[in-house]
Symmetry: C2
Subunit: 320 residues, 2 copies
């Protein structure tokens, strides 16, 4: 059954961006809105860096470095080299080309422009026709409480390489953050066909989005099926600290745990073939399950998984 | 006669930096203070750029690109390339390595640090042991009134390539600008042996310095001989718009005109061999003249001219 209507994809960085790419290659620009995590945003060397937005922009524009997994292909590092000569902070790499994004964003923010319109302009300049919305124009900062103390997200993720044991996670500013007019309009559409939660870290990438007051409720209120792709495959994350983090939070790293994490919002979970045994458990908990290949290596993988996710949501909608 | 005491060099960008280099290779760090023009400073892409300070820093640290005449040797331009993709302002080139300077300076200014201490730290990090002081920590902005309208300095100098006809020049903020504590201390020293006005543009590079209230008087009050190197050779500037500008201001481009411009402050002028005929005119106006080679192509030229300037000042001091 083909899916009708507009699709909202909710995503964080690398893993999520791959599915967002697949969705963008499957759906016309007018049919997809990507809502992106900004809890990872931070000020570095005086510049406003939005790592998840940048990853989605670079992935969708096909400018990303697929080998390294982040940043731009063909990047050079002379700025960082000179920063090092000055004794400046060098634990977060900013490539020479990538810097243009941060400098433009910082300048426009300083001029009073909203992150939403800045993101649209910068993404548009790189040829992205699909709508990409930050989860909020207000600052939300993910902070990780660890056995090495409270760490701002990038200090945990990049500087400490996710090594400290995580005790809890909080989203500073989330309670005061507002949904942007653009996102409000999208949530109020009557033609939402599906909400896709991309295979990003549920705790670090999706939770900050859902922590913006009214956003989780707004997704549910669309009435569309909410489908997630599990970022856990065979008890491990494809990339990043999701599985390690879940164990530290005393949660078994599995699709079932991911589904329970999204309880009350989720209608169906897509899990990998290696986790096929979990399908029955998910269904026992009242959720639909789709078993397929969820590891996205090629563009074809991304597009195929996107199509399967949309078809899965379409079936759930049709069954209502 | 060898010159004793501390030397204050007053300079702008490229031409002045060459003599500053010669002075720095001639005098121990404790014997030289370079006072640099900041009237060219501007905000570009949200970054605070101090072109004359940067030129002096890169020249003294031997990191400058001697062929191009500005910026760093071995520079790359990927940031600018990406800025262009975003449709950002690309009329003022910022190299990838050079960016580190502007980003560090901007960040430290935003944190409330003074340009003087920032300059000392950044220059020190690049190995500069001599003291380099901005003319003021307060913003002074050179503005050029032209037949194409009022232009901020860099819009005139870089964007419009000095093509518009200049009517007058003003230094916005100069009346409110204060001499920094560090520069005040230097001016108050009792052992100043010479003040050297480097061969920078008198109107665009030296005048903004002298426009800071108390600075011109402070230089005069040191009691040391004030010696300038003429930036005009054979009726033309070695580099830049000095001669064109003088003609537009109805001033004959000559050493005599430069000397008259500095009247009341200057004790002696150094002119090139090709202008030897002007020596008598200068002496007739009560100024000492030194005729020598003033075109600095090699490091040896720079050091020789610096030594000659110091010896010239020493003779003027001895003759008092």
């Amino acid at each position: 059954m083909a899916l009708d209507g507009h699709v909202i994809a909710v995503c964080g960085g690398v893993g999520g961006a791959k599915l967002a790419f697949g969705l963008a290659r499957t759906l016309e620009p007018g049919r997809l809105t990507i809502v992106c995590n900004t809890g990872d945003d931070f000020e570095h060397l005086g510049l406003h860096v939005s790592p998840d937005i940048d990853t989605v922009v670079y992935t969708l524009s096909e400018l990303s470095d697929r080998e390294r997994g982040w940043g731009l292909a063909g990047e050079t590092w002379n700025f960082m080299d000179q920063i090092r000569r000055f004794g400046g902070a060098d634990w977060f790499n900013l490539g020479d080309r990538d810097l243009a994004m941060h400098v433009q964003r910082t300048q426009r923010l300083a001029a009073g422009e909203r992150l939403t319109t800045i993101t649209a302009a910068l993404a548009g300049a790189l040829g992205i026709a699909h709508r990409l919305l930050p989860m909020s124009d207000d600052p939300v900062r993910t902070c990780v409480a660890t056995d090495a103390g409270d760490l701002p997200f990038q200090e945990y993720f990049v500087r400490a390489r996710c090594e400290p044991r995580v005790r809890s996670i909080r989203f500073e500013g989330a309670a005061q953050a507002r949904i942007s007019p653009e996102l409000s309009e999208t949530l109020a559409r009557r033609d939402i066909g599906a909400v896709i939660i991309c295979p990003s870290n549920p705790y670090l990438s999706i939770d900050p989005i859902l922590a913006v007051p009214g956003l989780r409720e707004g997704l549910a209120a669309t009435g569309a099926p909410v489908v997630a792709v599990s970022p856990i495959v065979g008890g491990e994350a494809i990339k990043g600290p999701t599985a390690k983090l879940m164990r530290e939070l005393a949660v078994d790293p599995s699709g079932v745990s991911v589904a329970r994490h999204y309880r009350g919002l989720l209608d169906g979970l897509i899990i990998d073939h290696v986790d096929a045994a979990e399908a029955a458990k998910l269904e026992a908990e009242g959720l639909a399950a789709l078993v397929t290949g969820t590891v996205m290596q090629s563009d074809e993988d991304r597009i195929r998984l996107a199509r399967e996710a949309l078809a899965f949501a379409g079936r759930l909608k049709g069954a209502r």
